[in-house]
Each structure stands twice: as C-alpha cells, then as structure tokens.
Assembly symmetry: C2
Homo-oligomer: 405 residues x 2
C-alpha cells in the first residue's frame, strides 16, 4: 500500500561520491541489504540523529566519528537495527567499520555506521563483513538508485530526489535518498537519509543548513507518533562543482538553502506517501496561530489522532473528530468560536461547529482524493506550520502486527 506513484528520478552522478551494494543476508537473501558510500577526500559532512534515549550503537558511533573526523565512508545495513543490544552492539558495529577500514586503508573513525531493521537482535556483523568485498567491487558513481533499494526495510518502494541548480554561474547537483515507512515522527523517524552534493560547504555551514532543512522536512512528518532508535540523516558536500557556498552572497546562500530544504521536504514526503498501510497523503496546515510552536502542536495533535486518521481512511468527513483534536491540543485560552477548518478548500467547520454552507456531499467529495489538505485556522495570530501524515488503515495494523513473524 502506498499513495500514488513515485518513481525514482533520473539520478545523476555526484562527482566525489561512489556507491556500492551487496547482499549480506542480514535478514533476507533476496536483495542487497548493505550499502557503502565512498566519499572523496576533502569533502565535508553533516548529520542529524535520533533524540531517542535508547539510541542504537551505530548512532552513538556515527555521531562520535562525525564530530571527530572528516568521514570517508558511510556503511549502511538493513534487516537489523543493532539497537537495544548493549555492549555487544557497540562491538558488532565497530567490527563492521574496522573491517571496512582495513579493506580501504582509511582510519576506522572516518567511517559512519548506520543500521535499520528489527530492534534487539544481535547484529550478524560477520555476514556484513563478508559482504564488503562485493560492495567495494561494485563501487560506482551511478548507483544512487541501487542504494535507494538496498536501504529499504518495510518500504514498498525506493525513495529519491534530485535537484540541479545554477549558482554563481556554475551548476550544482544534489542527489538524495530516504527510507522509512513507519515509526515516523519528528526527532526523528525510523528513517535514514543520504544526500550528496557537489557544492563545497564548510562543515559548520553544512550542519546549520541541514538543521534548518531537517526542521521543516523530516521533523514535520508523523505517521504513528513513534520515534526510532536509529534515525539518521547525513549529507556530504564534495566541492567538485567548484561552487564554494561559504563564499557566496547571502542571497545565493539562501538560494542553496531553499533548494536543500526543498529536496529534504520531498524526501520526507516520500516517506509519508509510503507510510505503512497508507491510502491518503495528508497535509495538516495550521494557520492563524499565536506562535509557530502553537501551530505545530495543533497540527501534530490532529495528525496523530487515531480517530481522525481512521476517519480519513474511511473518507468520512467526520470533522467533529478534527475539532475534538484541536480542542485537546493544549492551546491556552482557545476561542473555539474563531476556529475554522477546510478540507481541500471546502469549509467544513466554523465558529466551533459545522459550517453553515457545509453539506455532507461536499464533505465526502473533498475527502475523495488521495491527497488531502486540512487547513485549520485558529484566527489568533499570524504564525503557521504544516505537518504531513497518513491515514490509519487495516493494513497499518497488519504490517505492524506481523513485522517480526
């Protein structure tokens, strides 16, 4: 189940990044489950990681190595999250990157490990180590699409986005991948994202640009309110385009930031469109809020309400459930008589009740498309925020009840 079609884009090569994949048989043996990103010397990296207190061993190691070095490899496995695995988990992750370091001649702390899959099972590091020769043998610049498939878990399809822009008279390219289809919620999700660009950016500026892009993309999606122990989004800037973002004008830097936010938003939305059991792609836009955080709070409360989500699944214009969710979002002194709600442009609620102009037929029609925009206007300020989510379906329960068995 997934909303609409979302074919992979025609990835281009990013000069300075090579990708290889292999089938290590971590959990299944039908497709590649190990991915190696090789990063040219002189590149810069930045990353954002889960805030879950039970963050997985590879996340600890990736954060430490990113802080200490200029990374030369990203090593990703699916099928096993290496989370909740204690000291043995650290040793298993280290064994994988030690082996890759030995085979490639780089220092082990220049390798960032990533794992995704089932929590709490010992990572079969020997299988991953044994697959590395295969992955390295296949390294190539044009393998973004292969990597998109190799990083999937319960995803029904690979997810990628590309951008090509002209800045300061030169062409800058960005390729991005994401994976994730559940346990999705800001700060962040069971999601991984790998982005590469041939722009040159200092690691400090790259980190700050990634933070901003992430805030408005991966941190604005929610599928089931759960956050994972493994979420990581990393970006590498190789500088091979000859564009030095740090040296650009403020306006040109903003242009680059906008494109970055844009590609991250696309990668984030692709996850929601492939949400476990999703039939609807839902944007919840709260406007007229007294602050952006207030708008976010209301948007999340609506986007995570099981009653709202089951109604959306049924294409049922049960706007009362939306109102009830707004009402419990914790907005101080909310004047309910000012709140209005639109779905795909149809005014369904105003003045704290059903809109005078509303008809059941119009409501049903508004809910028919797979893409829904719910706008909630609080009319108490000028701030707004949008959160993207999916419906809650029988398939969601099936997928999550049967994941391990």
């Amino acid at each position: 189940m997934a909303v609409g079609d979302a074919p992979l884009p025609a990835f281009f090569a990013i000069d300075g990044i090579r990708i290889g994949t292999a089938n290590a048989g971590v959990k299944q043996t039908e497709r590649a489950d190990v991915t190696v990103f090789e990063i040219a010397e002189g590149s810069t990296c930045a990353g954002v990681f889960t805030r879950n207190a039970f963050c997985a061993a590879p996340v600890h190691i990736a954060k430490a190595n990113l802080a200490a070095t200029a990374p030369r490899y990203w090593l990703v496995n699916t099928g096993n999250a290496n989370a909740g695995t204690g000291q043995a988990g650290f040793e298993a992750a280290q064994a994988c990157i030690d082996a890759l370091a030995e085979k490639t001649g780089v220092a082990a702390d220049t390798i960032l490990p990533f794992s995704t899959g089932v929590i709490g099972e010992p990572l079969p590091s020997a299988k991953i180590v044994a697959s590395l020769d295969d992955a390295l043998k296949g390294l190539g610049e044009s393998r973004w699409a292969d990597a998109g498939s190799a990083i999937m878990t319960t995803d029904t399809r690979p997810k990628g986005a590309i951008r090509e822009i002209s800045i300061a008279g030169k062409t800058v390219r960005i390729c991005g991948l994401s994976k994730g289809a559940g346990m999705i919620k800001p700060n962040m999700a069971t999601m991984l994202s790998y982005v590469g660009t041939d722009a040159g950016v200092s690691s400090e500026l790259l980190q700050s640009m990634l933070n901003e892009a992430n805030r408005l993309s991966f941190n604005r999606i929610t599928i089931d309110g759960d956050t994972s122990t493994n979420d990581s989004a990393v970006i590498v800037a190789t500088g091979r385009s000859g564009v030095d973002v740090d040296a650009l004008t403020a306006e040109e830097q903003l242009q680059f930031q906008t494109v970055l936010t844009d590609i991250y938003t696309e990668l984030a939305q692709l996850i929601v469109r492939d949400a476990e059991g999703a039939n609807k792609f839902v944007a919840v836009e709260v406007s007229g809020a007294a602050s952006e955080s207030e708008a976010e709070m209301v948007a999340y409360t609506v986007a995570e309400s099981p009653l709202v989500k089951t109604a959306l699944y049924a294409s049922d214009p049960n706007w009362g459930r939306i109102l009830a969710a707004v009402g419990r979002a914790g907005v101080e002194s909310l004047a309910v008589e000012n709140v209005s709600i639109r779905i795909n442009g149809v005014l369904i609620a105003e003045q704290g009740g059903r809109a005078a102009s509303y008809t059941e037929e119009a409501g049903v029609e508004a809910l028919t498309p797979a893409d829904l925009l719910i706008n909630i206007d609080l009319e108490r300020g000028s701030d707004k925020a949008t959160v993207w989510t999916s419906d809650l379906s029988h398939e969601y329960v099936t997928i999550n009840a049967e994941y391990r068995t």
Copy 2:
C-alpha cells in the same frame, strides 16, 4: 470484541435515587437511549468534566448548574453528543431540561444534561422531550442495570460496579455505572459515569474525594489518546444511610475514599476491557521513577504507542518497541542501562537491551494471556504510576472507520 467476561453486578437500590429510561429514537430505535436519574432533596453532587476546549453544550450547562444548585435530576441521552453544534446546541440542551423541569416541578437549573454519540449533528431535542413521560413513568430504585444499557454507544456491554461497606457501625452502599469504548484518554474520555451512594457527604468533600478517585482511575486509562468533548463523571450522595462522612474520623474517611477510588478504578478498567477492538487488557506500571509525573509520562508514552499496541495485538514480544517508547518519553538524563522491563513477571529487557535470561519462548508465553502487566523499572527513584490500556487491532480500525456510516 471485548476482553473477557464482565457481567453486571447485582445492583442494590440506593435510597434516594430513582432511575427511568426510555427509547427516544435519537439515532436508533432498538433500545432505550434516554436515562433520567431522580435525586432526592437534600442530596449532594460532585462532578468532573472534559478539559477539551471544544466541550459540548451539555457539559457547559451541567458544570454551571452543578456549581449553582443542588441537582435534582441527571438527564442523559446517547446517539448524539450535541458537540460542535454552536448556539443551537445550547438551545437544544436547554429545551430538554426545561421540559423535564416542567414535568417534575423542579427548577431547570437543578437538572444536569449529558449527551454522548456522534459529534456535530443537531440534537433532536423534540424526540428526547417526547420520551420524558415514558422515562418518568418507569422511575424506580432498582433500575441501575437498565441505565447501564441505556447510556451505551459503541460499548459492547453495560458496565457497572457496586460496593457495600460498614463504616462507623452502619452499612454504606455505592452503585456505579460507566460507558465508553474509545476516544479514551485522561482529562477525560468519551466516557460517562454515574455513581450514587447513600452516604452523606458535603458537596465540598464529595468533590475533593471524586477528584482523587478520578485522578487514579478515569485519568489513568488510555485507549487511543483522544479525549472527547463530552466526558463527565458525576456522583450523588443521598445521606440516607445515616453515615455522615464529614463527621467521620480521618481513618474512616480514608476508608471511604479508598472504596470510592476502588469502585472508580473498576468502572474505568471496565471501559478499557471493552475498548474498541480490544483483545488485551494491559496495565503499564512504571516504577523507580524520580516523580509520579515522570512515571505517568513514561507509562502513557508506552500505553499510547501504536507500535507497542500492534505488537501486543499480535502477542509479539517485541520488547524493542517498548524500549524505544521509553526512550522517547522525554525523561531527562535517562540512564538506559538501568532500565528493566517485565511482562507478566518475565524479565525481557535489562541494561538497555534484551535480558540475558530471556528466551523467545518465555516472551511469547508471557504475552499469551488476555490480561497483561508490563512493568518498567527506571531505577532512578521511588515513584510509580500505572496506566491501563488495550491493544490496537484490525477491529479498532474497522469500528472507527465505520462509526458514522
């Protein structure tokens, strides 16, 4: 779908309270949907109500009338929540209590109205008014069981509890009813509760005792994290037993409070056992917390995690999802290596990972019963809290996707 059997108890009469029901055909015509509780003069009442900003018209009126008068009647309808109905909703609720006041000779503001059912549809007050003669004709002291059925919406069975205790050498009786099977979450749920006792309690003391009982019962259950616009729990004390609780010793008062908390806990748990689509009744007990609110926060995060709830539905000992939920609960400086998790006594996780003694077989066996106790020990203090919840099943989605159609 409901967990186990829960037959109604053998209600006794509460001297000073008479109950009548009628079929007004608010939404369906198969069974009674209007209930009248007649309260003898000299009784005291207390109530707790939803904190949802979109609280329904009858809630506003009930709160105001309770604050201003000594209530003589409670009037309940199911099939329509009279919520999100604007000014017309107030007028419809008032029309119902005005009619009852005229028929019974009491002042309209001594009547507390309650409505439950679909949100946002106009309340058919004329139908309710037309049913009042029937309800009044049938008034009797032994009709608690009838009322238990007449207040149901998506409930699969009526819910009631009784207590009989000896205090200060006299017998005190308590009868209680509750309804609710979804949209359940503290502060509070789509739940209604009506309790009567023949103890005598001043309205101030009754309110404070109800608050305490409610805090540990209805405010400790969660099914889907949603709160309703209509939740109300009211209690009446008729004093006909001759026991004056205000005049009791501190120890005797505590005895009465304990019984009250106990009957409310039973009424709350009955709602969870009848949760929409529930196959499991789950107590999430968090101990070793630095504060009660910290324990509550962790218990709720686990109890409301869709991933945990779908795993419980599948009887899947996916303890990693429980760990992940604990990890995102927002506990400051959580030492994950101290956290241990038991399910029905089986140690499944310790030191932030799978317990050394754990076997998959033991985990599956622990999850087999319909009644589950998940204990999470944070080992950072001495406070604890228990929250009761249910699993998340296909039936939940079916019920909530089809509720209106």
